[in-house]
């Protein structure tokens, strides 16, 4: 019964309602293979939203994820174009390392210099995008310059699902384990929920935030490779503005912007909610002029709903004193 009242259940209900609405306009959308396609398309968003979740839990925000993704993607594409023989696992390892490095830079600045995270990541966002210009000279890396193996991985099918979807599923499982079962995962909640208390409990707030940023960066790096190989093109502007969608997925999923509250299930559902809207709008024949407004409206409704649900009622304490006066 408690589950039915939880935010995740309400969001899951909203998603089912949304699917029903779409199916009414375009029945083919809810066919299993199409839903699998929508999930696949939402996988990059899920990956980034998980990393963002860790960061937001610790009362920070990472606006540089999309730029990190784009830079890692560009580096992967350029390395592949220059050395087509390099095995894909090496490229993935490189993407993870590069993403982690960029996340660690954010984390270090927040930790050691105590600069507000929004300022740090706004800065690094621009720096990372700038570096893409510098290394690529503004040139695109096109599909015919990438090796076949490089492009094949995310779309290779395994038990009926593309590898991209499997990666998202595996990362969700590992991430849930990390959040629920490890000291670091619990530290994210403790640090965001009450930093003062966390310090007294022996947690290093700055270091926990550093690890959250590094985690977010690593996932952005991984997504960078997947993104570039999926769309088979790398250029400066890829995933431009995507960071806002990532934050929106977290907020819709019930991650408190004030830190310390939220679940992995919620984030995955939040990302799926946005992914379904993005994939449904092209097929339900809504005028493109209204599409942006509809996406934005859905976000505000979801967030307003969350804000209402999470508002804790004031409690009257000292009832006897109240009556006495």
């Amino acid at each position: 019964m408690a589950f039915l009242k939880s935010r995740e259940a309400i969001l899951a209900g909203a998603i089912l309602l949304l699917l029903a609405l779409i199916a009414w306009r375009f029945p083919g959308f809810v066919a299993p293979d199409n839903l699998a396609r929508v999930f696949n398309d939402t996988s990059p968003l899920i990956l980034l939203a998980l990393g963002q979740m860790a960061v937001i839990l610790t009362r920070c925000i990472d606006l540089s994820v999309a730029a990190n993704l784009a830079l890692t993607g560009m580096v992967c594409a350029m390395v592949n174009a220059a050395a087509p023989g390099l095995p894909v696992p090496v490229i993935i390892a490189m993407a993870l390392a590069l993403g982690a490095l960029m996340g660690a830079v954010n984390g270090l600045l927040v930790w050691t210099l105590a600069i507000p995270p929004i300022v740090v990541t706004l800065g690094t966002m621009t720096i990372y995008r700038g570096i893409i210009f510098v290394i690529s000279d503004g040139q695109w890396v096109n599909s015919h310059e990438m090796s076949d193996a490089f492009k094949a991985l995310p779309r290779a099918e395994l038990l009926g699902l593309p590898v991209l979807s499997w990666i998202a599923l595996v990362v969700v499982a590992l991430f849930a384990l990390l959040i629920v079962r490890t000291p670091l995962g619990r530290a994210f909640y403790a640090v965001g929920g009450n930093p003062g208390a966390a310090v007294y409990a022996g947690l290093n707030v700055g270091r926990t935030q550093f690890w959250a940023f590094t985690l977010s960066g690593t996932l952005a790096g991984l997504t960078g490779y997947l993104w570039v190989s999926r769309y088979a093109v790398a250029y400066v502007d890829i995933a431009s503005g995507f960071e806002l969608e990532v934050v929106a997925a977290c907020v819709i999923g019930g991650i408190s912007i004030a830190g310390g509250a939220g679940t992995v299930t919620g984030v995955v559902l939040g990302a799926l909610f946005l992914g379904i809207i993005k994939n449904a709008l092209p097929v339900v024949n809504v005028s493109p002029f209204y599409q942006l407004a509809i996406s934005g409206g859905a976000i505000i409704i979801a967030v307003a709903f969350n804000a209402r649900a999470s508002r804790s009622r004031g409690r009257v304490i000292l009832k006897s004193a109240e009556h006495a006066s």
Partner: protein
């Protein structure tokens, strides 16, 4: 004594520097090529053409600049800084026809020659506009590209850039005007990929789902056509759905190779940057004056004839396919 001498030396040096600057300002015509955003292959090629024109003219300095993303706000900042640098001419491809007009008017009030090229500015914000080709010709070209491979007729859909992209909207309008000549071809819908690879990809997938009998996707935008070709390959519909429109040979080589695209068209962006520079030079040096009916020289490309809106066309788009893609893919 020594102090005096040092002062004197500094003064002479300063005077020499000043004289040098003045000489430079007199000799060199500084033409700013303002593009929609830096880092787009098409505009990089246009900049190359501008440099060719500068080399030919001899006394021209090209300032290739633009915002880092395709926004009107970014371009306004760039324009303001160019006004501060007192350049002689601005040749701009605008992100928004109206939003940049006031800033460009300010530039013209300060004696800077302003022309627009590729994507136009409202008439009050420029002296003339150079279209890469004439809009009616492009409109006909994009539907002809699809029709070439549909002798029996069929369904086609459009994948455009943003809903407010000036040039894409005009081309689609012109295409619709000539649809009477293609009675067997039905345009089933227009979608917008916002020039983002992921959104264009998703919109192309949506088109193939909504219209299962779709025969061709026409994308008059370089990001859209590449993304649509990839979506067709991933959907396993190569041979069923032909992706065509406007794209760059280097970016489309893979799509031609995979067969997702049979042919596409583009004008020569090198020529476009070259022509814009020549026009800006001729107007800035008062060799010609912009006005309805006026003829302004474009160097090796002949003369541009201005119409009632002070607009001129450069040349016709050129079709690329498997027969010539290898020759052009390394050029731009």
């Amino acid at each position: 004594m020594s102090i005096k001498r040092r002062t004197f030396t500094t003064l002479t040096a300063a005077a020499a520097l000043f004289a040098g600057n003045a000489a430079l300002a007199q000799d060199d015509v500084r033409i700013a090529l303002v593009v929609k955003a830096l880092g787009i292959g098409f505009f990089e090629a246009a900049a190359e053409g501008a440099e060719q024109a500068a080399e030919e003219l001899g006394n021209v300095e090209i300032i290739y600049t633009g915002p880092t993303d395709t926004t009107a706000e970014g371009q306004i900042e760039v324009i303001n800084s160019l006004i501060a640098q007192q350049v002689d001419a601005i040749a701009i491809s605008a992100n928004d026809p109206d939003a940049v007009a006031p800033a460009l008017q300010r530039a013209m009030q300060r004696g800077i020659t302003v022309i627009s090229w590729d994507s136009g500015v409202a008439p009050e914000g420029r002296e003339m506009h150079l279209n890469p080709s004439s809009n009616p010709l492009i409109g006909r070209t994009i539907i002809q590209l699809a029709a070439d491979h549909l002798p029996e007729g069929g369904q086609v859909a459009l994948l455009s850039a943003t809903t407010t992209s000036t040039n894409q909207n005009i081309w689609i309008e012109e295409m619709n005007k000539v649809m009477g000549d293609y009675p067997d071809i039905e345009v089933v819908g227009t979608v917008y990929g916002d020039d983002l690879a992921d959104k264009s990809y998703r919109e192309a997938q949506g088109l193939m789902q909504t219209y299962p009998d779709l025969d061709a996707i026409i994308a008059p935008t370089s990001v859209g056509i590449v993304a649509a070709a990839q979506a067709v390959v991933d959907a396993g519909k190569v041979g069923e759905v032909n992706v065509t429109g406007l794209g760059l040979p280097s970016e489309m080589a893979g799509a031609i190779e995979s067969g997702a695209s049979r042919s596409f068209a583009i004008w020569n962006p090198i020529d476009l940057g070259y022509a814009a520079t020549m026009l800006a030079y001729n107007l800035a040096t008062d060799a010609a004056e912009a006005g309805p009916g006026a003829e302004v020289g474009m160097g090796r490309l002949g003369n541009a004839t201005l119409d009632d809106n002070n607009e001129a066309a450069m040349a016709e788009p050129f079709t690329y396919d498997a027969s010539n893609i290898d020759q052009f893919k390394d050029i731009f």
